[in-house]
């Protein structure tokens, strides 16, 4: 079943969901970040049906998030790896993981990150690209951007 498309929304959150918002897709991307490349391994780790997995992988290849390279002929078999566009989903994945660790993991985080350059267990802190200070939802305003003209952008409502 294909749900309503978000393609007509002039909103980058909606467009991201259009690519990665299907049920299962972010877990396939999680596994791709963890080094999974082959269909059978995704299948085994996720316990997902083969046709849903095929559909999701095809969709990610079509959107340029994964690329597919044959590693065997007769029958042909593929490795799936993240493109640069796919690698850029790391912050989305990490933000989801941290939220789940904080709010939905009563036994503690299943995995943690260690930062190579300092060698410590680390959480991601969002900072401002201009001043370098921490940024939070309560310390930002939302303004029309250069693409706001194309249709109703998701701007704040009057209180």
């Amino acid at each position: 079943m294909r749900r309503t498309s978000f393609q007509g929304f002039n909103c980058s959150v909606a467009q991201t969901l259009e690519v990665v918002g299907e049920w299962w897709t972010m877990l396939i991307i999680r596994d791709a970040f963890l080094g999974v490349t082959r269909f059978d391994r995704f299948h085994e780790r996720l316990g997902i049906s083969r046709n849903i997995l095929t559909d999701r992988l095809d969709n990610l290849v079509e959107h340029g998030v994964l690329e597919r390279h044959p590693y065997q002929q007769n029958p042909v078999r593929y490795d799936y790896t993240l493109t640069e566009k796919g690698q850029d989903l790391w912050l989305v994945l990490t933000a989801m993981r941290q939220w789940g660790d904080k709010w939905e993991a009563p036994d503690g985080a299943p995995v943690v990150l260690s930062h190579d350059s300092c060698g410590h267990v680390s959480e991601v802190v969002p900072t401002c690209s201009h001043c370098g200070e921490t940024i939070a939802w309560s310390s930002r305003q939302v303004l029309p951007g250069p693409g706001a003209g194309r249709g109703p952008a998701p701007l704040p409502v009057a209180p």
Copy 2:
């Protein structure tokens, strides 16, 4: 239709998707961050059917992401606002917006952020909570966390 539940996965990404991974849910949360509080306003901005909207709002209230307060009796009508748990989804939403701005917004970003404390248009940069430097997927290791014991955690696969 209710898809397979991710509740049995010992993975914080899966648990986050269990709460916010349904089609439409992150756009409802987007609008809540933009100041929308009332059913009819969500309905009007999203163009979503009333029963799907009711289902998604009920689910978010049940999971403690939104809270509901009556603003009118006879008939009773509610305001929906983000709890602290809901406000904590800001980084997930922002990471999605930034990815969409970069990869799926050929006409430019529909909205941009301005950071209150420096007054400049800003992007969120992920930094390490220990050393403060920028952190990326290529500069981190994934290790078992305190909750890894409960079941197979989504650890890296052998190359």
